[in-house]
Amino acid sequence: MIERPGRHRPGRFSEMSDAPSFSLRTGHWFERHLPKIVVLPLFALSLFFVYGFIAWTAYISLTPSGIMPNYELQGFAQYERLWATPRWYVAITNLFVFTSLFIVISMAIGILLAILLDQRVRAEGLIRTIYLYPMALSFIVTGTVWKWILNPGLGIENLVRKAGFEDFTFDWLVNSDYAIYTLVIAAVWQSSGYAMALFLAGLRSVDDEILKAAAVDGASSWKTYTSIVLPILRPVFLSTVIILAHLAIKSFDLVVALTGGGPGYATDMPATFMYAFAFQRSELGVAAASATIMLMTITAIIVPYLYSELRKTGQ
């Protein structure tokens, strides 16, 4: 497994391939391979969990399973039933609306805050920690807190009414047309400070010389940001999008804690849909079909990404 220094392969991980590899002068085979031996069992275990369970789920989606697994193959009937379920369309629309709004708003707020903090504000470290705190909380706590704040009778609506604006209405949490946006609000609160930290790190790594040159040329700060700094930050944008998208897919706990998928099933997401059909409605086959569709969609996004990463390195 130990490789001689290979030809130069440019790409994101080129540092790795450029690393001098060692032929170990001392030690036995066992010792040389110790790190791999430690990792192997866990590696095998995750292979089993990830692919074994995916295979099982895909198989179940082709069976008439109801409350319990039934291993008799029946074809694509469960998929037909899935696509005939209005609730499924609500779930995928919600995922799309939530994910895009969440990513765009978090990044916009993140970059504005990063520019604000980049101006050498006093006690910057402290402010930065406060901005980042929400990210260290779990989604269920976030959901709990915002449920209170967004509750029409208890939170903001009530507060503003008490302040004298009797007609003020802010009932998104219980309004099935707007409830999905309350999830966006809570998730943005949790993650925008995080996006800020990533962008701030990117801003700080911009080369001094470029900025000095821009200043000499008399560029305004607005112009410097839009035409010099932001283009340089492109890799940061990419990694921020990937991390935020990953959070959005995992938003299950937030939905459960904040809206419970309601009112009705207005804020259902594919994850809560699967959960409801597998555990509450005893429609294991439909749940498995929806899981398989989600897995295929995510794979369809990941595989081209991996492929382009690999092609870049010429393998």
Partner: protein, 277 residues
Amino acid sequence: MAIVAKSSKFGKYGRPTLAWIVGLLFFFPIFWMVLTSFKTDADAVKPEHLIWFTPTLENYLNMTENYDYWRFAKNSVITAVMATLFTLFVGIPAAYAMAFNPSRATKDVLMWMLSTKMLPAAAVLYPMTFLTKSVGLFDTKFLIVMVLSLINLPIVIWMLFTYFKEIPKDIIEAGKMDGVNTWGEIKEILIPLAWGGIASTALLCFIFCWNEAYWTVRLTTTDAATLSKLIEGNRAPEGLFFGRLSAVSAAAVGPIVVLGWFCQKQLVQGLTFGAVK
């Protein structure tokens, strides 16, 4: 270097003020939760007691006496600490091998590991519940530690790798010349050199384990139930028991908030995967 705008009134007073106002907005929900935790359930839903109320410890006393807070807290501490230690125990050699003995497959393995983090957990919940119940592992601390370790391992290895690859290879090679074995190299050279990075990674892993709710809520009933399960169990239909729920939530996030305060540098570094040094 920062682009410092020309000094103006706004630059001098406006920006810091704005930064602090935003900071307060970010902190407000957490403050609100703590405030509500000192109200009785009845006061928590009364608008007239929004700010002026008689603080009470009733929720906290109730929580420790009737809801067995300490048992849940103990489980949270045990599972999060064990999972963090175990993940580091496996992750450090793995990241070491990737950083210093890279093979052709290293990058692919790294990408593959990260891609597994993208899969929706809901898809494997049913088979997982089914399997663990049939082999008798359901609701055991062992299972929770294993699950927490497996889901955090990719991120831990990735983070450790980004720290390790910045260590000059010569130092490790010098150790080899001196005849130190692999284990010795990791223990005597690598760990002391990468201590800061390892600490940030450990803190992040601990926070993720502590916050994990999806699996810990659904794969436990009593014996291995963590604080996430306690919060989940106290969620009631609309508007009920907000004081109690706030107390439980505050007591569950309290340790993280305090820990984060004392380890601000590691928290920021860890949460941004080492992007902020």
